[in-house]
């Protein structure tokens, strides 16, 4: 990595942590608190434009022209390439069972470079990234951000994403770095093709930006905080529902 990129990387991390500092000290930020809403809405419009005019048409052609088996192979490979992040972060989060399962699956599927899932999806691995590691370290979620090309994130998750990419780059050789660059657009097309119905549905809603924000925050919190968070959320909702039923 050149000095210029190292400097940029450090700047991004610092900026993300500074933005994190804007939030309250509690881990979760209220969904209604969106200090960058105006800017986020502009970025959302930009992302939507790119999606509707470039990504979605390519993704539709990809679904039409590429056979399901090849698409599933590509999906498997992209997932496999991402597994080292899960291994590292599961270790950092002391989830040893997940570390062992992810390592075993990574080695097994490595025989086919990840293009074929040799255990046929029987081993369920919880995806872990630096965003979730930071959450376990009690780093505040920070305000919601809409990032150009990357989509919805919280400042903590944006920091995590940068660290994840840095991680892969450090682990891999230059040739794999080049491969990663080619994989970014494939990854975007693959994800878009898998979520086409959901995304098209979101665009039809009354306020697509709010829908994306609430879907992202609910989903991300479920992933990170799992049972404890869900139970807490359900208790609050139950109380609200019972009050309304009276």
């Amino acid at each position: 990595m050149t000095k210029k990129y190292k400097f940029l990387f450090i700047k991004c991390i610092t900026a993300a942590f500074i933005l994190n500092g804007c939030s309250s000290s509690t881990k979760l930020v209220s969904e209604d608190k969106d200090p960058f809403e105006k800017m986020n809405r502009n970025v959302f419009q930009f992302n939507k434009y790119i999606d509707q005019n470039i990504i979605s048409p390519i993704s539709k052609t990809y679904i039409k022209k590429v056979p399901t088996k090849i698409r599933s192979g590509v999906s498997n490979h992209l997932e496999w390439i991402d597994t080292p992040n899960t291994i590292i972060n599961s270790t950092l989060q002391t989830e040893m069972e997940n570390t062992i399962l992810a390592s075993a699956k990574f080695l097994l599927n490595g025989l086919t470079l990840g293009f074929y899932d040799l255990d046929k999806g029987e081993t369920v691995i919880k995806k872990r990234d630096f965003g979730s590691t930071l959450a376990k370290l009690n780093v505040s979620e920070g305000p919601f951000l809409m990032v150009p090309f990357l989509g919805p994130k919280t400042t903590r998750d944006l920091t995590g994403t940068i660290l994840d990419k840095q991680n892969i780059a450090t682990l891999s050789s230059n040739s794999i770095d080049d491969l990663n660059l080619a994989e970014i657009p494939i990854n975007i097309i693959d994800k878009r093709s898998k979520m086409s119905k959901t995304i098209d549905n979101i665009y039809l809603s009354t306020d697509p930006y709010i829908k994306v924000r609430t879907f992202y925050l609910q989903n991300r919190r479920n992933e990170i905080y799992s049972k404890k968070y869900i139970e807490n959320k359900n208790n609050n909702l139950d109380a609200e529902f019972e009050k309304l039923l009276d």
């Binding site: 399901t68 989903n219 479920n222």
Partner: protein, 202 residues
């Protein structure tokens, strides 16, 4: 004294057995409601495939109305703004909300016909609520399983109606509420603006 204690114990036992029985009956009723709705939706998807879009939507709306508590959902998705709405605005909002639910279900109805539903666990929550959990599975294992959580409560007639559905932990009522309340807040609680936005053709 011992007789009194025996009677007290007996009454306590009968009371508790009855409560436990009623709890388990309620859970069974809740599960049956969801099972019945899934069967009807799957039948419906197959039977209405050749109908025109409008006709199909009308039939789906009737089916949904039978199983959801639309009054509750309308109140829950508008928060404190519900009290400020007039009777006409409330009725219009209910119609618009139902239309949105129908649109969402229509998108997935054909897919639902090819998948299978498996109930997993039910539990009683608080005084009135019941959680029914289930799994949508693809028999060919080409699609990942989807976890569902239905939240139900009995109405005045004693039959169970759906209050909310969580798909993979994402609550439909919470998502709709975030959207509705944001629009209402920005427009100082003006329901007409919200209704215009909801009914506008996209």
């Amino acid at each position: 004294m011992s007789k009194f204690l025996n009677y007290t114990f007996l009454i306590f036992l009968i009371f508790n057995v009855n409560i436990a029985k009623s709890f388990s009956d309620n859970l069974k009723m809740g599960e049956a409601t969801i099972q019945q709705m899934i069967i009807e939706a799957q039948k419906h998807a197959i039977n209405t495939i050749k109908l025109e879009a409008n006709e199909r939507s009308k039939k789906i709306a009737l089916l949904i109305k039978k199983y959801i508590n639309l009054d509750f959902m309308s109140k829950a998705t508008t928060g404190t703004f519900w009290k400020k709405a007039s009777e006409t605005q409330r009725e219009k909002y209910k119609t618009a909300l139902l239309k949105q639910i129908v649109l969402t279900i229509e998108e997935h109805l054909n897919t639902l016909a090819t998948l299978s539903y498996k109930p997993t666990k039910s539990e009683r929550r608080g005084k009135k609520l019941i959680y029914v959990r289930g799994l949508i599975e693809d028999p060919n294992k080409k699609k990942p399983d989807v976890n569902l959580l239905w939240k139900l409560a009995a109405n005045k007639n004693g039959s169970f109606l759906i209050l909310d559905l969580e798909i993979e932990g994402i609550s439909l009522v919470s998502s709709q509420k975030a959207e509705t309340v944001s629009i209402l807040r920005k427009n100082r609680g003006n329901f007409d603006i919200l209704l215009n936005k909801m009914t506008r053709e996209k």
